[in-house]
């Protein structure tokens, strides 16, 4: 495709797809903030509103004690390219300011317990009065109604993995359920929620109508579990896990190689399966009645038989040799990648998928680009997080036209706030007091 020639080089000569949209976010942790980040990288102006002075809890989280320039690394990666405001929404004056912002915004997203927005006088009915076109999103563990919601059950990603039946399906047979290492229900749910938001935006363009959307942390992942539900209904049996073996595609599994590295292989289609059998030097397996047709090959006894043959063969080759054979013989194969590959792989770099962010507060560090490459409107991950309330002055001046004296007054009333003198909330030690601030004095 020639339209992607020099895509990375020309990225900044093209607009982002969502330019002109304004999004407000009142979210903490991961499920909430991850979604608006996707919109931010696609060019929307996203204002992250935190409660001063401590802000988002994620600022404290870290893998095994590692912080990056005092900041929680997961906070950095879940919240790029936003503006940072700290507004104490418990206070009436703050609620008024919030409504003024809503009147000038397209989308507002919360992850709070049910009915908290009402307590703060910023529930959908209130906001709709000032902006009938608003797309209003509430995300949490169990939604706004139903038994679990009304029991006020707390939730997080691990609970959602457990309750949805998702973790159950991720282990090896007869082993305890396995938690996935990434926060899949959080970030996948956040992603799916933005599909809801942009569809609502399309509807608004046609009709002028906004809407209210609610999303639960567990329900999103159930949608992605596909065949499991009709399988259980039609066979009357519970679905059970199968480790790295794909139960619906054969062969598709991960194998240990001669060099003790792993390779993943998939070859269900006739040309792929023939290619794999030829690579193994056992071309006639492709004609074996047990394996010839995909649906027959999937029968458990046949599937286990062919996977055993492949496993024995894989142990005689290195992972890279098998990856090369996949290329040559036309079946899917890759050696297992690690975070080292994320960082060093020339393909990821050439696509600009992994790139360095050059941030005025946090310096240069690598991050992922938005993984949708758009030929006319490339999304862009541009900067990282800011201290609590860092962009208050800019937002209050640019969007709401408040004077410096009025802003000072709001600080003195505790309506607006700035960071606490605490790791992850305050600017990094290296900060010069000016860099990154949009309004400077």
């Amino acid at each position: 495709m020639t339209v992607f020639k020099d895509y990375v080089k020309n990225k900044y000569s093209r607009p982002a797809p969502l330019k002109g949209l304004r999004v407000l976010e009142v979210c903490t942790l991961l499920f909430g903030p991850a979604g608006p980040s996707f919109l931010a990288t696609m060019g929307a102006e996203v204002i992250k509103i935190e409660l001063p002075p401590a802000g988002d809890v994620t600022r404290s989280l870290n893998p095994f004690g590692w912080f990056y320039r005092e900041q929680g690394p997961m906070f950095m990666h879940i919240n790029p390219t936003k503006y940072y405001m700290a507004l104490d929404l418990h206070k009436e004056e703050a609620q008024k300011i919030f409504k003024e912002l809503c009147a000038k915004s397209d989308i507002v997203e919360f992850n709070l317990r049910p009915a908290v927005t009402r307590r703060w006088n910023i529930d959908y009915d209130e906001i709709r009065k000032v902006n009938p076109g608003i797309i209003y999103v509430e995300k949490n563990g169990f939604g706004q109604w139903g038994q679990y919601a009304e029991e006020d059950r707390p939730s997080n990603d691990g609970a959602a993995q457990a309750l949805a039946g998702y973790a159950w399906m991720s282990s090896f047979p007869n082993r305890p359920p396995l938690k996935q290492s990434i926060w899949i229900c959080d970030v996948y749910g956040a992603l799916m929620c933005e599909v809801a938001v942009l569809a609502a935006l399309h509807y608004r363009r046609k009709t002028g109508k906004g809407q209210y959307i609610e999303m639960s942390q567990s329900e999103n992942i159930m949608r992605a579990m596909g065949w499991i539900w009709p399988y259980q209904q039609l066979t009357g049996k519970g679905a059970e896990p199968s480790g790295n073996r794909d139960q619906c595609i054969c062969p598709a599994d991960t194998f240990l190689c001669k060099d003790d590295l792993f390779v993943a292989i998939a070859a269900p289609a006739p040309d792929e399966f023939k290619g794999l059998c030829a690579a193994m030097g056992q071309a006639k397996l492709a004609e074996d009645p047990r394996f010839k047709e995909h649906a027959t090959r999937l029968k458990d006894e046949n599937a286990l038989a062919i996977l055993k043959i492949i496993a024995d063969w894989a142990r005689t080759k290195t992972a890279s040799e098998i990856e090369e054979l996949g290329k040559k013989n036309g079946f899917a194969a890759t050696r297992l990648h690690t975070s080292k590959d994320m960082y060093e792989d020339p393909h990821r770099r050439a696509r600009g998928f992994v790139k360095e962010i050059d941030d005025p507060l946090y310096g240069t560090y690598p991050d992922h680009e938005f993984p949708v490459m758009m030929s006319k409107t490339p999304p862009k991950n541009k900067w990282t997080v800011r201290p609590v309330g860092f962009d208050n002055e800019y937002i209050m001046t640019k969007i709401l036209g408040r004077s410096q004296a009025q802003i000072e007054e709001l600080y003195s009333q505790g309506v607006l706030g700035k960071w606490k003198d605490q790791q992850g909330r305050r600017p990094p030690k290296e900060w010069d007091g000016q860099s990154g601030a949009i309004l400077r004095r």
């Binding site: 992607f4 049910p114 899949i184 999937l298």
Partner: protein, 449 residues
């Protein structure tokens, strides 16, 4: 519907429900009913999942398969077919019209161009370059239809050194390529080999989660491109690599390696970055335990009856508990204690503690790790419309996960689950190209449809 004690804010719950209950979805309009999507996915459920999301929102979605059907129709556990269709396809054929067309024949490609001239979105998953070599890639089609949004979801993307590889995209391979599988799975016990403990290896997750992720990014990119097109009139090409899409959901691993040289090694059912956070054994299975604030962790220790012995009173910060050695130490201390209770008992203890415990209302999160079987019987999800069976004219009553979000104006909905191969040839070809039975018979005779 299960009886339960209503919350103090039950009026709120009732009000929201009256506005967004999925039971009333069919009374509402559809967000994308002005959009026409052609899905020519091959072998890939990422493409089918992408078009499902758009079809659930009302897009008129035409699924184009080769005569004989896409191999994805055979994807099914144990090879089970329901009325000739695999169970996976019975989920992702939803709301789509199914037609056949042989793109390997010149005449088939000409017909495809006519359809593309009338479409808003095309979704394809062939190895990069395939559509171009057939003369129906983005450049060719955008000349016919400059408003076209052309979405490619592949293993390696449309550019970059690996993009010349002619391999199809599969979920398990993309999971391996993403770097995430490496960090998921049981930890190999010290002194053991993989041959001895074959389950303690890098482990892929969930059923086709990588495909679901790239398909969803595809839907999101499509909607963003539609937004831009409404302003400028211009369509565009979209390039998604499934491995990258899935990798994007990883948070800090890349940065951690770059800054500290630390690899994303497996940590079993604990979390490298969180405490209290993990799966723990119970008498009848296991539970997730979560308490990301110090008080929640202390409350849990209190529930276990170890407040004094472990000196919880003296703890002032969670920080040391996040370190690897402390996580492992406490995991070893907790495991035998949680194993004395059933999952239900432990859940109840947490609920009771919220009322009467020393730190009440603070309490840890306790969630039973349920099987999908149990999840599907759960009254809470049923009540929220998650498993309402679809009454399909061809396939009968089929359970589909749906109502994945609730919305007041344009919620997603499922109307039918699938259609047999070529089922809609008559309607779609007549509607879009004016082909009646005579012409269709001729095309069938030539093997074009």
């Amino acid at each position: 519907m299960a009886e339960y004690k209503r919350a103090k804010w039950a009026d709120w719950a009732d009000k929201i429900r009256s506005l967004d209950d999925p039971a009333r979805n069919f009374e509402k309009p559809e967000a994308l009913d002005d959009i026409v999507v052609l899905d020519v996915s091959s072998r890939s459920m990422a493409g089918c999942y992408c078009s499902s999301m758009l079809a659930e929102l009302g897009a008129e979605t035409i699924r184009i398969e080769p005569p004989g059907g896409d191999i994805a129709r055979t994807y099914s556990p144990n090879g089970i077919l329901h009325q000739g269709t695999g169970l996976a396809y019975l989920q992702e054929g939803r709301n789509k019209y199914h037609i056949t067309l042989d793109l390997e024949k010149e005449e088939g490609r000409e017909i495809f161009k006519s359809l593309a001239g009338q479409a808003d979105v095309i979704i394809e998953t062939y190895p990069a370059g395939t559509m171009d070599s057939w003369g129906i890639g983005y450049e060719a089609l955008s000349k016919i239809n400059p408003r076209l949004i052309f979405v490619s979801i592949t293993a390696f993307g449309q550019f970059g050194p690996e993009s010349t590889r002619r391999q199809y995209d599969y979920d398990n391979v993309s999971q391996a390529r993403s770097g995430i599988q490496y960090g998921t799975g049981e930890v190999l016990p010290e002194g053991k080999t993989v041959q001895e403990v074959p389950y303690a290896v890098p482990t892929k997750a969930g059923p086709w989660i990588a495909w679901a992720v790239s398909g969803t990014f595809g839907a999101l990119g499509t909607l963003a491109a539609i937004h831009y097109r409404e302003i400028t009139g211009e369509g565009q090409a979209i390039d998604i690599s499934t491995a990258e899409a899935y990798e994007r959901l990883h948070d800090y691993a890349l940065h951690w390696y770059a800054d500290q040289g630390v690899l994303n090694e497996r940590f079993g059912n604990l979390d490298t970055a969180l405490w209290l956070y993990g799966f723990f054994p119970t008498k009848d299975g296991g539970v997730f335990l979560g308490g990301l604030r110090l008080e929640m962790w202390k409350a849990f220790v209190d529930i276990l009856g170890k407040w004094d012995e472990w000196k919880a009173e003296e703890w002032t910060t969670l920080a040391p508990f996040m370190k690897k050695d402390w996580q492992l130490k406490y995991q070893a201390m907790i495991n035998p204690l949680t194993a004395q209770y059933t999952s239900q008992e432990l859940t109840q203890k947490s609920i009771e503690y919220a009322k009467t415990g020393r730190l009440a209302p603070i309490t840890p999160i306790v969630a039973e790790i349920v099987s999908p079987w149990k999840a599907m019987q759960d009254e809470n999800w049923k009540d929220r419309g998650m498993f309402t069976p679809v009454q399909d004219p061809v396939y009968g009553s089929v359970v589909c996960a749906q109502a994945q979000w609730k919305a007041t104006e344009t919620p997603p909905r499922t109307k039918w689950v699938c259609r047999p191969v070529g089922y809609d040839n008559g309607y779609v070809y007549l509607n879009y190209l004016g082909y009646g039975p005579t012409k269709l018979k001729e095309l069938e005779g030539k093997g074009i449809i």
